[in-house]
């Protein structure tokens, strides 16, 4: 490989990118847009869920329970209604996600004893929010129940330790102590940005030459296939490294996502991932001789799997076995794993050996294939 020739090709490609304002817009604006959208727009936790209340008892006791819901940051009592019809209407229209119905004998039960259930009607259309809301509501009700029991024991002269909560779970949350959605999403955005920008830009490299008919000119010069490939991809490698750096910096400085790993490991993993993404984009560019076809196929092949099968937002361990097996083929899966581990866990090289090795293998295979496919096409 002749370095001067590689350098010359790189310079030519770089000039071409610089003169194409849309490419630059994609390269610079896309990371910022995705970070803004996903950093601010993606929150899976449920707070201030609008609650409708149908208090059929209207006693002090039922008010005491409802006050606890009002006090919780997870619920806002939006409205007090006096029949089921109002609840049905509000849940149908989506104005109310959770409706509590306190039975008429609530206060009496609390005084005389016995079981009483409070109905929680929940709009489960959005299963995730519904599930979270029920979890929080259960915690509020069981806390209230325990206090009522304690009070009841005291009143009946029983030693109140018999009503002390028999079990207490001492939670410790590791890595993402506040369980912030943002800390979970932002590391993956780095992979998403590289995939999107990398696929869009690199899929055009050869397709552009084909389309403009300059490919023949390039082939007639003494450069080899590998020199063209490396030379053409170097500028994109640089641009994407800058994109990755922007994402990481904005993530840490603006969104306050912790970064606990080492920059060296992040750099190695990013370089490997870039090689894979660029190599695949390049191969598509070689195979499909028109820009539009090339970029749309590149997006299809790279972005969809990164979005859905990399563990970026949807947990891989919850997928059915065949799909889970499929995720091992998705190169982004390994990079997303590394990113999350570096940001949140601070894992070292030893812990990340497996995904890093997978990326090395991918980079080597994609590199070899791309050279080969390109050489064949040139002949």
């Amino acid at each position: 490989m002749n370095l001067t020739r590689v350098g010359a090709i790189s310079r030519k490609e770089f000039l071409q990118v610089r003169r194409d304002p849309r490419s630059l817009l994609i390269a610079l604006f896309m990371p910022i847009m995705l970070l803004g959208l996903l950093g601010y727009g993606v929150r899976l936790d449920a707070k201030h869920v609008p609650v409708y209340v149908f208090d059929r008892d209207g006693s002090q006791d039922s008010q005491a329970l409802l006050k606890r819901f009002q006090a919780s940051e997870y619920f806002d009592i939006a409205r007090v209604v006096d029949d089921y019809a109002a609840i049905t209407e509000a849940v149908d229209a989506g104005r109310c996600k959770l409706a509590l119905v306190v039975p008429p004998d609530f206060g009496r039960r609390l005084r005389d004893g016995g079981r009483v259930s409070v109905q929680a009607i929940v709009d489960a259309t959005d299963d995730n929010t519904a599930n979270l809301a029920i979890g929080y509501a259960t915690a509020v009700v069981s806390g209230f129940s325990q206090d009522v029991q304690l009070e009841w024991m005291r009143r009946h002269g029983l030693p109140d330790r018999s009503a002390a909560p028999p079990l207490s779970i001492e939670f410790r949350t590791w890595y993402n102590e506040e369980l912030e959605s943002r800390n979970f999403i932002i590391p993956g955005v780095v992979a998403l940005v590289i995939t999107l920008v990398g696929a869009l830009l690199s899929s055009l490299t050869i397709a552009r030459e084909w389309e403009r008919g300059t490919m023949e000119q390039l082939v007639s010069t003494p450069v080899t296939a590998r020199e063209i490939m490396v030379g053409k991809l170097i500028p994109y490698f640089g641009i994407l490294l800058v994109d990755a750096a922007i994402c990481v910096a904005v993530g840490i400085a603006w969104f306050a996502v912790p970064f606990r790993g080492t920059v060296g490991t992040l750099f190695v993993a990013t370089a490997l991932f870039l090689t894979v993404v660029l190599g695949i984009g390049f191969m598509i560019s070689v195979a499909i001789p028109n820009q539009l076809g090339a970029s749309s196929i590149a997006i299809l092949v790279t972005l969809l799997p990164t979005n859905l099968l990399s563990g970026f937002a949807f947990p891989i361990d919850q997928m059915p076995a065949p799909i889970r097996a499929l995720t091992y083929l998705v190169w982004s899966r390994y990079y997303v794993t590394i990113l999350k581990a570096l940001f949140l866990k601070g894992s070292g090289l030893r812990d990340l050996a497996e995904p890093l090795l997978a990326l090395v293998v991918y980079a080597a295979v994609v590199g070899a294939c791309a050279t080969r496919v390109f050489r064949k096409t040139l002949r």
Partner: protein
């Protein structure tokens, strides 16, 4: 006039049939997204990898652990010997939850002293962690209440019968088993229609401009309005066909219920299509080449997709982003889709959404037609 429009439409479909990549762009994403969102996209939490150290190894502690596994939400994947091993399982990501029951657990339960249980949760995936903790709370509440009654039964058996106990009786409406699939599959229809119809319309016009055939069309007796109709109607039809296909697959294959009126859905889809066709035309007035149109569509479709409530709830977004969602037609279509599929509601409930889409569609379409006619002059 109708004849001319008809010929335009035939021409558009012929062109579509000849363009191999357009076909892939049209057919592959719906199929892949359908499978992915039907199978892979899930926020449900089952079989969370759990590591357990049970130092007490009593009947009570085993009962607690078995309640975790019996719920189907947790699967014990390891029983490490010491804390070091336990921590390593979490560090390596093998276990998402680690439970440690200290010795003396049963003793404390019997005495009526609060028995502490240590629980470590890997918060990397905040959503899985939150949902899992919700299940932990529910299991712990039932366990506590069962064993609390035991303690009282020993002290004063007669009192037990009348011990007050408040329970939450959950009544999940519309999606009783909390299936993510029911939430996502109707949404896929909306998100795919957005992508496909915006791109299709934008490309149909830009293609003519790029190849230079736009002038030819313009010197023919066809009028601008007819041209626009000829360009947008095929996208409209393709959009409806994709919607019908996914609806059928969703109902027949993924068993998502459809409880509403198909005509209400059809109205919603049509109003939405007016918006997306307008957006496509608008993009086409801004771009000279198909490549540019492709890149520009990203800057419109990505926010459209993220800020719609398709997978991330609008209610949890910061206020500024919530305002932005109001101009997003997909936001309204998703309400209509989920309303007709899962809730079975009709126009009485969905009229505000229909009205909003009609308004957005009218504005976008008239702006884009105006710009388009100007670009022809």
């Amino acid at each position: 006039m109708l004849g001319r429009i008809f010929h335009m439409i035939v021409k558009e479909f012929l062109q579509l049939r000849r363009d191999r990549y357009a076909r892939i762009r049209l057919v592959a994403p719906p199929l892949i997204q359908m499978v992915m969102f039907g199978y892979a996209a899930t926020f449900e939490v089952h079989h969370v990898a759990t590591a357990v150290i049970d130092r007490d190894n009593s009947q009570e502690s085993r009962d607690l652990v078995s309640r975790f596994t019996a719920s189907g939400r947790f699967t014990v994947i390891a029983r490490p010997r010491d804390e070091g091993e336990l921590n390593e399982l979490v560090e390596r990501g093998r276990a998402t939850i680690a439970i440690e029951i200290r010795s003396g657990f049963a003793e404390q339960l019997r005495k009526g002293v609060t028995a502490p249980v240590q629980l470590i949760v890997d918060g990397t995936n905040s959503n899985t962690a939150l949902i899992a903790l919700g299940y932990v709370n529910r299991i712990a509440a039932v366990f506590a209440s069962d064993y609390g009654s035991d303690a009282i039964a020993r002290l004063a058996p007669a009192r037990l019968r009348v011990l007050p106990r408040i329970e939450l009786e959950e009544r999940p409406w519309y999606n009783p088993s909390f299936e993510s699939r029911w939430f996502f599959v109707p949404g896929v229809i909306g998100s795919l229609m957005l992508v496909i119809t915006v791109n299709l319309t934008a490309f149909a016009v830009v293609r003519e401009r790029e190849i230079g055939t736009l002038e030819q069309v313009m010197v023919s007796p066809i009028r601008p309005v007819e041209f626009i109709l000829g360009k947008t109607l095929p996208s409209f039809l393709v959009g409806l066909a994709v919607a019908a296909l996914i609806t059928l697959v969703g109902i027949l294959w993924f068993r998502v219920p459809f409880r509403g009126n198909p005509l209400v859905l059809l109205l919603g889809l049509s109003l939405f299509l007016i918006c997306t066709l307008g957006m496509g035309l608008l993009i086409s007035t801004l771009c000279k080449t198909q490549q540019q149109a492709f890149a520009s569509s990203f800057f419109i479709l990505t926010p459209g997709f993220t800020l719609s409530g398709f997978s991330f709830p609008i209610a949890s977004m910061p206020p500024v982003m919530q305002w932005l969602t109001y101009v997003n037609p997909l936001r309204y279509l998703l309400v209509v889709l989920r309303g007709t599929f899962l809730k079975g509601v009709g126009l009485a409930v969905l009229w505000p959404q229909m009205l909003a889409m009609a308004a957005i569609g009218a504005i976008v379409l008239s702006v884009s037609v105006f710009r388009f006619r100007k670009s022809l002059d």
